[in-house]
Symmetry: none
Subunit: 153 residues, 2 copies
């Protein structure tokens, strides 16, 4: 499986380490399994993460913008300076930078939610609450959801 799916709840130890769920580790390319990138989610108080390969794609896209435009700086600043890399140790653990933990209000436990091509890290209670409201929103538009689910390609 090459997608981040399912959810996991792991503890953060005294040193600040937390295990990246094993199934998530397996999504990372064999060529670079010991590094991930993390950044603040735009839409929610959570951290988003994925393999570094994605970053290179992003870099390429930004590089194609007009170098002397204001947009270039905005993208470049908001993305490159806000993204951090984190190394995964031999046991599959990594460190979440302090400011990101604060942003997501994460203290002693982290909830990992698969999102397909990336994943989110939440404070457990907040994350669970979010899945509920998220699902509720979907059910309120059940009709369109059914359309998507049953639609044939």
């Amino acid at each position: 499986m090459d997608l981040f799916i399912s959810k996991f709840f792991n503890k953060i130890d005294k040193k600040g380490r937390v295990s990246l769920p094993s199934s998530f580790r397996n999504v990372l390319p064999k060529s670079n399994r010991n590094e991930i990138i993390l950044y603040k989610s735009i839409k929610s108080p959570s951290i988003e993460g994925c393999g570094v390969g994605r970053l290179k794609e992003i870099a390429k896209r930004i590089n194609n913008l007009d170098f002397f435009s204001e947009d270039y700086d905005d993208f470049s600043t908001s993305i490159f300076s806000e993204i951090v890399t984190s190394n995964i140790d031999k046991e599959g653990r990594f460190l979440i930078p302090e400011d990101l933990k604060q942003y997501a209000n994460i203290k002693t436990e982290a909830a990992f939610f698969g999102q397909g091509h990336f994943f989110q890290i939440w404070e457990p209670k907040t994350g669970l609450k979010n899945t509920l409201t998220s699902r509720k929103r979907l059910l309120e538009q059940k009709k369109s959801l059914r359309m998507i689910l049953t639609q044939q390609k």
Copy 2:
């Protein structure tokens, strides 16, 4: 990782030395890890820096501007004539020239912001303020930011 990413806040000591963040040093080519170039940013009160190899890329981008426009001369002059080189010592530190420090209003601490193929050095508070306004501008065009971050190839 071969990109300047994330942000770091380092102190400037009595001798004027400041550590180039370790991860930034690793971006510099192994062949020339003890020299960087610095110049005043055109768009903000900050210093931009990169490895000397990047000079060619800068030249190319300026060359792509309309040769007979006013911009051409202005950019060309403001950038090339202002570029300085700085040596990195054995401990990974370098000196920021006095006029550049003044331009960016840097006193005792420097904030390094990754920008992909180059980096910026800011007075910490000013730099943080800039990331906020920059992000705000982008959120006003949320769609385009999401495109860059989540778009699949």
